[in-house]
Amino acid sequence: MGFLVRSPGLLASVQGSGRPGFLRSGIAEGGALDLKSLAIANLLAGNAPGEAGLEMTLAGAELEFTLGNVVAIAGADMEPRLNGEAAPMYRSFAVQPGDVLAFGPARSGCRAYLAFAGGLELPLVMGSKSTNLNCGIGGYRGRGLKAGDFLRFAAPLAPLRIAVRRVEGRRIAPAEGFGSPVAVLRVIPGPQAESFTEAGLEAFYGGEYAVTARSDRMGSVLEGPAVGAKGPTDIVSDGIPLGGVQVPSGGQPIAMLADRQTTGGYAKIAVVIDADLGTLAQRRPGDRVAFSRVSLGVAQRASRREAAALAALARRLGS
């Protein structure tokens, strides 16, 4: 028993910490695009940070519970409502059989995460519950959710009232708004940065790029000042790291995300640092980004700070 999908919204899929280890075979790590928001939702629900929950994009789902549990929401604000009343974000709460949890369009941010205490009962495919939509594997039948789908809880807290009390009502301060007009993404210069002209690099680092509607879980397709190259930007295919920003011949960059193709033949001007991938994933079509060069030291310290903050949160919540 778990919940019925009354409506999936624009795109709802099961996502956890991903499926690392198969780059050499052509499958990217996948998983939640904003891992930090997923982790916060999970910690609030008493789960491990990478447990699989629901990732909802731009417009959220409507779910009807057939079994009680504790859930938590983080990430984009889709104005969640429980039986018509405003439901909290960044705070765990109990749901009862018959309750309807409905999400609307995102007011700010792009992706909301819903975590279920005890996780979802789904098979591990190649070691993961995360859905890879292109490969058609993982999650619920390898695809995004559809109306009428029924997902089961793996180990819901409902039958154990004491456990519910322990987890229910946990809260943390919400993340800073995702709605800033321009998000600055820190990057490390990419493996083919020398393929671009001085003017091209200036355009890239000095300009602002809008996220287009062609963006998906594979990549954020950007539009802004064209990035000029010294010659053709086609290269002999090379591995594409997570966050790699490639520039096809048109000069418009594409930032590659968790479900990207693992190899590609376009020059990579830069790579978005790990700590800023969540910020990028929360940009929605029309939102703008800018790129700022940082050193490896700065990037890795930023990651460590994020990890330490999550660890502190986990300690505080006693999970």
Binding site: S25, G26, I188, P191, D238, G239, Q300
Partner: protein, 233 residues
């Protein structure tokens, strides 16, 4: 061979690039470094991804610094040719050519100006190097097809090609590991599943292996397919 470049690919990966062309020599160097890394089990190295001409090394910066890892990679890459590397593993792929399995075989026959038997014989006559996997899960970039078989892609790609289809696109040949759209000319199909997420291991081959196509009759194809379906093969 020039010295490889070792550079960051973001803050959690390093790319070791040996050059910018498709050649067996460069790919050998990539695979040799990959092999050495696999056997050395360096602290902090999470995963490696060999490509035509580079090796992407994903690492955990809390367990290995870029500097120390880059130094180590440079040293390992300078080891030169894959000394002591055994002969490549050959994976035999049974293929039913032509007919309903390879609808576009007549196009290749016409384009090559050879008989159908000759086209099939040439396609099976050599072992193909797997340079890398990418594009789709388990899709192998193969090298070394007989140039006489090169045939332009279809003017309009098909919306769905069955898994196991063997095709020719320009000077390349390959196997579609899963049902997908595609524009290659289909010349045959294998009953094997190059990629099966529910099998362990999910992939039949990896970079550095060789593919050898073996022509089979329709009867043998159906028999193999039934045995694979039943989990016996």
């Amino acid at each position: 061979m020039p010295r490889p470049s070792v550079a960051p690919a973001g803050d959690r990966a390093i790319v070791v690039s040996f050059g910018e062309e498709i050649s067996e020599e460069l790919n050998d160097a990539v695979l040799a470094l990959d092999g050495r890394l696999q056997s050395e089990r360096i602290e902090g190295v999470l995963e490696t991804q060999p490509t035509y001409r580079s090796l992407l090394v994903r690492y955990d910066p809390d367990r290995a610094s870029f500097r120390s890892l880059a130094r180590r990679l440079r040293r390992l890459a300078d080891g030169g040719a894959p000394a002591g590397a055994g002969p490549a593993r050959v994976v035999e792929i049974p293929v039913a050519y032509g007919g309903p399995y390879g609808e576009d075989l007549p196009d290749v026959v016409r384009h090559a100006g050879l008989s159908e038997e000759e086209v099939v014989a040439r396609h099976c006559s050599r072992d193909y190097r797997i340079y890398m996997l990418g594009f789709l899960p388990g899709f192998a970039y193969l090298g070394g097809m007989d140039e006489a078989l090169a045939t332009p892609r279809l003017p309009t790609p098909r919306k769905a090609i069955p898994a196991g289809s063997v095709g020719i696109g320009g000077a390349q040949t390959g196997i579609y590991p899963q049902r997908s759209p595609g524009g290659w000319r289909l010349i045959g199909r294998t009953p094997l599943r190059p990629y099966d997420p529910d099998r362990d291991p999910p992939f039949l081959y990896g970079a550095g292996d060789r593919i050898r196509f073996r022509p089979v009759s329709e009867a043998e194809f159906l028999d193999l397919e039934a045995r694979i379906e039943a989990g016996e093969a």
